[in-house]
Amino acid sequence: MGQLLSRSALYVVMVAIALVMTLPFIWMLSTSFKLEEHVFNFPIEWIPSVFAPENYKAVWTAIPMPTYYWNSVKLALIITAGQLLTCSLAGYAFARLEFPGRNRMFLVYLVSYMIPYQVIMIPQYLIMKNLGLVNSHWALVFLEIFSPYGVFLMRQFFISISRELSEAARIDGCGEIGIFARVILPLAKPAIATLTIFCFSWVWNDFQAPLIYLNDDRLKTIPLGLASLNGEFASQFNLIMAGAVSSLIPVIAVFFFAQKYFISGLSVGAVKG
């Protein structure tokens, strides 16, 4: 009896916390379908008394949302593809090839991961200014495709693959590039999936770098659009929430379909390299 009681108590606590974590999102979703004058009705109308899907139409036409969306998709795809290429190559070298200075170089990569973005942000801006890349997507592409985190993630995975596989391929006369491309990469699908999801959602949510580099409306990404929407429509929370829902849909979709890769990307950091 006592056990049953403590079990139900535990269940109640778990449900209560789940509500705290998700209610703000549910409030956002419900508000995005409300009329402006119903937004703050109290008690909260979780199901809008008047259903207003036109909020979405308003948001998508009042600000260049399609352009922002396209820019975010484009940047996320290019940067993810770039990271997959440069990080898997470098991760492979760190994990499976012998060369002088390997450990020292890898340490530099690890330490660089501790430097806050805001420390290198100004010199990066100086470099981009000199390259003439300010106010272009290229600045973001160059800044983000060489991620030390991506190298670390790929290396951790490559290291776990048995050495004998490489040896066997070598005996069969396979070159190092062949081993990488035909033996190791096909086995690294989980790591590739993890890095893809991680990188995609990171670029999708990135704010400060785009804020610095993208000035023209035609170049801006979703988070910038959402922030300016928030400024422009200061009190029209129904429209702002429609914008927020629009910005979250792709990441939520990815989360639902590939949750396990989301979570495995995190635990890589928890394993001591």
């Binding site: 974590m21 806050p116 420390v119 060489f146 922030a227």
Partner: protein, 291 residues
């Protein structure tokens, strides 16, 4: 002779080339340049001039910098402490094999996947001082609920609440992995020795979790020092300067006032603090981390 020892070196450098080239140009070089720019008065337009320690001398007497520094330390310390307590608690809560437990894990993790900007606009509405759902609820009990983001006394608290809410699920996943690595026999042995739930937590769980805690503390502190998005959208450093943190002040000095040299000096102070904290942590590691 050396070549013979490293027959793979050439291939290795080829594999490394794309990433290392970019890393050197866009990450390593800027890190070195940041130190140098701190000694200049670069304003983004005029030629860069060397000014020695001037920027650092001005930082010593700059009130806006002092406030931001104190705010950063307050925000980081309190958020980190609360995030860690919350994420350990959550991990303990979901570390069981009940049916449907993955749904709870996903729910707790969910705020992490949303962008800080989306989270900021949602909470801004929820915290609305006169009509927001939180204050409408509190008004049932009191006539003067806190003004949250609109009050300089409560703005920092509001930011910390949102930060803990957003980040706890992320670290929960790390602690959960740590908890699942603790052998069941240790708990059994402790139980036989007559240790209660509380005692088992302090004597078995926490010590065995300490390597994870160590990493979480470091990454959490670094992440909190970098917090910019929430503050940019929710408070813009205000009201007044109540929530102006270093990274926000650096951004403003550089990209609003064009004081790139001065902002660089400020960024170096930030880096020094982060490195110092990390260094102290590593020194202290042996004392409290058990393997």
């Amino acid at each position: 002779m050396k070549r013979a020892f490293h027959p793979q070196a050439r291939t290795a450098y080829l594999f490394l080339l794309p990433n290392v080239a970019g890393f050197l140009l866009f990450i390593a070089a800027p890190a070195v340049m940041a130190v140098l720019l701190g000694f200049t008065d670069w304003d983004g337009f005029n030629p860069i001039r060397w000014v020695g320690l001037d920027n650092y001398k001005r930082l010593l007497t700059d009130e806006s910098f002092h406030i931001s520094l104190v705010n950063t330390l307050t925000y980081t310390a309190l958020s980190c402490l609360l995030v860690i307590c919350a994420s350990i608690a959550l991990a303990l809560l979901v570390n069981r094999k009940t049916r449907g437990i993955t749904v709870f894990r996903a729910a707790y993790f969910f705020p992490h996947i949303a962008s800080f900007i989306a989270v900021a606009v949602i909470w801004q509405a929820i915290f609305h001082p006169t009509q927001g759902p939180i204050n409408m609820f509190l008004k049932l009990f009191t006539d003067s609920p806190p003004m949250w983001l609109a009050s300089s006394d409560w703005a920092m608290t509001s930011l910390i609440i949102v930060t803990v809410w957003k980040m706890a699920g992320y670290y929960m996943v790390l602690f959960l992995a740590g908890l699942q690595g603790i052998p069941e026999e240790l708990y059994e042995a402790a139980k036989i020795d007559g240790a209660g739930v509380v005692r088992r937590f302090w004597r078995v769980t926490l010590p065995l979790l300490s390597p994870v805690t160590f990493l979480v503390v470091i990454t959490c502190i670094i992440n909190l020092f970098k917090s910019f998005d929430l503050i940019y959208v929710m408070t813009a450093g205000g009201p007044g300067r109540a929530t102006s943190v270093l990274v926000y002040d650096i951004y403003k000095q550089a990209f609003a006032f064009n004081k790139f040299g001065y902002a660089s000096a400020e960024a170096i102070v930030l880096l020094a603090i982060v490195l110092l904290i990390t260094f102290v942590q590593y020194r202290g590691e042996k004392k409290w981390v058990n393997y």
